[in-house]
Amino acid sequence: MSIMQKAGSVQFRDVVKKYGSVTALKPLNLDIQQGELVTLLGPSGCGKTTTLRLIAGLEAATEGTIYIGGKDVTHLTATYRNVSMVFQSYALFPHMSVVDNVSYGLRVNKVPAKEAKAKAEEGLAMVGLAGYGERLPSELSGGQQQRVAVARAVVLEPEVLLLDEPLSNLDAKLRRHVREEIREIQQKLGLTAVYVTHDQEEAMAVSDRIIVMNKAEIAQSGTPRELYNQPNSAFIADFIGDANVVDCEIVGFGEGTVSLNVGGATVVLPYSGPTCQHGKLAIRPEGISVSQSATNGIAAGVSYAAYLGNQIQYSLNTGMGKLFAIDHNLSATVVPTGTEAFIHLKEEGLAFLPEA
């Protein structure tokens, strides 16, 4: 494989971006390691694209310093940064053939025409489009266009590959397929990649690490598992998977644990953060087991129950408020709507959310 990668790291130091009076990014610090695929995840308008464009050099930082591969690139424009980007709209040049599109970056960087073409062909082969070179972008399907866009970005051997919602124009089935391919290429080439999406499932599926953003700043960053199991706020708990966030009473802090009183039951959870007066409890829907046969636990009224084939869903009225529960045990009998039941909280489905 002659497409070699020169993956680099990315650092943001107190980077601020303002558009006039709108602050698109509050002081932001970011560390992305070489060879890592990091996803920026968050609701629309939270600043993901802005972050990506700052890495690309398409926007200038209002304050702060940006490093790529350890070098300060804050004042370099996109042209002079060794970063490639895959656009949401693909941005394939409609007047150039596929191979011309892929070799464009090489040609403008003064790579001899022959070599550029060979490399482009190779890039196309890598994304499974060998032989499509002479077509025009409009003669390809959406998924193929997507892959051309990836090939075009990758053949330049960028230090960082940026992808801005690369799958949003594809239908659901294709989306899964293409995201696997992207992940595969990234790992094969050892690329540093920053991937923007607002779809948490997609983020969990492709990332080494996820950075969740909210309201122009980072809400939490970690591996998919960390985020799911140890959300640090109600926002994260709710954004990464579903969660019932309920009030709880802090009984006390132990060695790496916290004891809580919820709905009359006491639970002890692993917790290593600072002690605090108040907090909430996030309960994953799968963390609630509903049973009519049990005789103890927290009393709950089943206001709605539905069998969905691969799971059973419940809406429950409890002393803690309304709860949403999912039971994956398909052999269990469905507790019918309108009946009374008891629920149990499983420890692995719970997370303590301290409040300052």
Binding site: A56, G57, L58, A60, H75, L76, T77, A78, T79, Y80, R81, N82, V83, S84, M85, F87, Q88, S89, A91, L92, F93, P94, H95, Y104, G105, V108, N109, L136, P137, S138, R152, A153, L156, L162
Partner: protein, 735 residues
């Protein structure tokens, strides 16, 4: 960055030390300045002008260059160097122009006492190749250094382009217009007098409202405004009717309708006015028939407001149509349907959906009609009667029996003020982003049909009008083939023969009287068109795609020349460019420049419309792939802008051929233009040849536009299939 500066520094040194500083009689391309005349007083470069001919005023400029070279070589820190270069190159530019303005053709013009030593008394002539190259070099050293300071995202091409456009607009729009303003403040004895200006400015000669009080006639300012408002409204209504027919009905002869709406745009001035006289004048054909059949008395109603208004409606409705067809298409039927499914009544739908979407387009169409009308010169000249308007008053204040340039200047200021107010009012009313809505995407090709009442209203309004236009044009064709239009209607080819005969004894000889001006016109238009397109589209690119401080001012100033009527520009150009340092009168370049800067706003508009249709991520993709902005423009944007380029080229070509008011003062013996020739014929009552010539011009323009279509349009077609952007063309036209 260093390399760019080094190259421009070298260019500057060539300009200062090798190229002839002044314009040389034998012409630059003869290169005699490089050999036999290198050290002659006429052709020597600035360096030797200073050393050999005592032109001491080049010394400070030379020092500025030395400073630039030194800071470039010595200063290591990038920012310090850039700062030093910015200061020094600004100094250089100031010095260059200061010496040009201070020492005139016959000695010092400013600070006579202080400067009158050395050879200053013998004066100097206008800038030549050396001065231009030096000025260019200084400008680009400046812009490159500014970009080195991090402005414009540090992109030398962008900052350079901005600098270039600003320099050009300042030199060829602001500077000449300022000359007019200065004139307006000049009292008859040459001194400056503000009170005299205000007295003249507010004089009842200009602003009289006597006609309202039952008097004879109002002042030309009110006449112009009144006419312009009605023309703007009339053309907008007619244009809207045509646009609705073209997009929302199944009218069978749409193609023909298109042709009828294009031809007036490529009609030289006067022609419509003449045709109207021959039809509706007191002795006109129609008048005769009406008299015979209905005993309607023959009158001179055509001369005055009614005639001008009719002619202007005929001339300018097509412009409104072209703007509005894009707008009507932009109001997507699904939006109207959406509103109706939300239980809005038709009126509510109109008020809340259709109207807000069309408002910018209607305002644009109105503004265009307003400005075209107020600047129109040909129609009032032929049909004005006793209805005086500003444009003709200006003309006669300059060429009349008692020429009064300062009155002309005052009138010009009034005219300028009116057009600018309209322009500003429109901007305020629409807000900044007017064009984005004007070029809305049509999301489906299928427009809902018009409601029948509206449809018939449109037909009733527009079709008679179309028929009328057709009749006027057949009259014109007819007129070119008869001996004496109106009196002796025997067929003849005389007019064509006199204008365009060719004899073949010993080689081809162009013996017809029109050939000279015809060739000049074609040459100049062909040179002006691509330059206009380049300047216009480059400006559009900067406006749409780049962010920089002062962008709003920048946009406004590039649009300004649109609001300056031709007569004013023509006069301003004579005042500004007849004397050193920039001496251009009598050359073809002044004609080219006047066309480029008059038509540039349309190139800009077209470019903006087209570029807002191109997804910004295309350029960003190119940039992130390592291309610089110049390469991006060249390889990605330009190839995708075929229709916009076509429109800009066609428009500026046509305008260069048909405009008269600006060129009438600028043509010279060597470079005479067709329209000015035609005006001469009309003045002498030789309508036949004037109309024959006009017909040939119309055909020339049609052929040229078709050729352009073939050359550029071909690619457009291919691309349309690829991009499915079939509506792009129409939007362009609307710009």
């Amino acid at each position: 960055m260093r390399k760019t500066i080094a190259l421009w520094l070298a260019a500057g040194i060539v300009g200062f030390c090798i190229f002839p500083w002044y314009s040389v009689d034998s012409g630059f391309w003869s290169f005699s300045w490089l050999f036999s005349e290198f050290l002659s007083e006429d052709a020597a470069p600035a360096l030797f002008q200073a050393l050999l001919y005592g032109r001491w005023w080049f010394v400070p400029l030379a020092l500025a260059f030395v400073g630039i070279a030194l800071s470039f070589a010595v200063l290591k820190d990038e920012r310090t160097r850039a700062k030093a270069l910015v200061i020094l190159s600004i100094t250089g530019i100031v010095l260059l122009f200061a010496q040009g303005f201070a020492i005139g053709r016959t000695g010092p013009e400013l600070f006579n006492d202080a400067l009158n030593f050395g050879s200053a008394a013998s004066g100097q002539i206008g800038f030549g190749a050396g001065a231009m190259l030096t000025a260019g070099a200084l400008l680009f050293i400046l812009t490159t250094s500014i970009s080195g300071l991090g402005q414009g995202r540090g992109d030398a091409f962008i900052v350079g382009s901005i600098g270039l456009i600003i320099a050009l607009v300042v030199t060829f729009v602001f500077y000449p217009v300022s000359q007019i303003l200065i004139r307006a403040f000049e009292a008859s004895d040459g001194s400056f007098d503000i009170t005299a200006f205000f007295t003249r400015f507010f004089s009842s000669d200009i602003w009289s409202l006597a006609c309202l009080a039952g008097g004879k006639t109002c002042g030309p300012a009110w006449n112009s405004v009144f006419l312009a408002v009605l023309t703007g409204a009339g053309t907008t209504l007619l244009g809207l009717a045509f646009a609705l027919i073209a997009t929302k009905t199944a009218f069978p002869a749409k193609k023909l309708l298109r042709v009828l709406t294009i031809i007036p745009i490529i009609t030289p001035p006067f022609v419509i006015g003449l045709a109207l006289i021959l039809m509706f004048g007191r002795a006109g054909v129609v008048t005769d028939v009406l008299h015979e059949m209905f005993d309607i008395s023959k009158s001179r109603w055509l001369y005055g407001f009614s005639g001008i208004y009719l002619a202007q409606l005929l001339s300018f409705t097509p412009i409104a149509f072209l703007v509005l067809i894009g707008v009507v298409e932009g109001v997507s039927p699904s939006m109207e349907e959406a509103s109706q499914t939300l239980n809005a009544t038709q009126w509510q739908t109109f008020k809340n959906v259709t109207w807000p979407l069309m408002r910018p387009g209607l305002a644009n169409a109105f503004l265009l009609g307003f400005i075209e009308s107020i600047a129109d010169f040909g129609n009032p000249l032929v049909l004005g009667g006793n209805y005086n308007v500003l444009s003709t008053e200006i003309y006669f204040a300059i060429v009349g029996a008692v020429a009064d340039p300062s009155r002309a200047a005052v009138l010009a200021v009034v005219l300028l003020m009116l057009t600018l107010s309209a322009f500003i009012a429109q901007r305020l009313w629409l807000g900044k982003k007017s064009y984005a809505t004007v070029t809305g995407k049509a999301d489906s090709g299928q427009h809902s049909p018009l409601n029948p009442a509206l449809k018939w209203a449109c037909y009733g309004f527009a079709l008679p009008w179309a028929a009328f236009t057709a009749v006027v044009y057949s009259m014109i064709v007819f007129g070119s083939f008869v001996k004496l239009w109106g009196y002796d209607n025997t067929f003849t080819l005389d007019h064509y023969i006199r204008a365009f005969s060719v004899s073949f004894n010993n080689g081809i000889r162009w013996t017809g009287v029109a050939w000279d001006s015809y060739f000049t016109t074609l040459t100049i238009s062909t040179m002006a068109a691509p330059l206009t397109a380049v300047v216009g589209l480059l400006t559009a690119y900067l406006l749409v795609r780049q962010k920089f401080a002062g962008k709003n001012m920048f946009e406004f100033s590039t649009m300004l020349s649109f609001a300056i009527p031709g007569t004013v520009i023509g006069v301003a150009y004579i005042m500004a460019f007849n004397t050193p340092p920039i001496e251009l009168t009598g050359t073809s370049i002044i004609l080219i420049i006047v066309f480029v800067f008059r038509n540039m706003p349309v190139g800009v508009r077209g470019g903006i419309a087209a570029m807002s249709q191109l997804d910004k991520s295309l350029d960003e993709a190119s940039i992130t792939l390592g291309a610089n902005s110049f390469t991006t423009v060249r390889k990605v944007i330009l190839p995708l802008m075929g229709p916009a380029i076509l429109a800009a080229l066609a428009y500026s070509f046509v305008r260069a051929i048909t405009s008269v008011s600006a060129v009438i003062f600028l043509v010279s013996a060597r470079h005479n233009m067709a329209t000015s020739f035609i005006v001469g014929r009309v003045e002498h009552g030789e309508y036949g040849i004037a109309i024959a010539y006009s017909s040939v011009l119309i055909i020339t323009m049609l052929v040229a536009i078709l050729l352009l279509q073939v050359v550029i349009g071909q690619r457009k077609l291919r691309r349309q299939n690829r991009l499915q952007t079939s509506n792009k063309n129409k939007e362009l036209a609307s710009a």
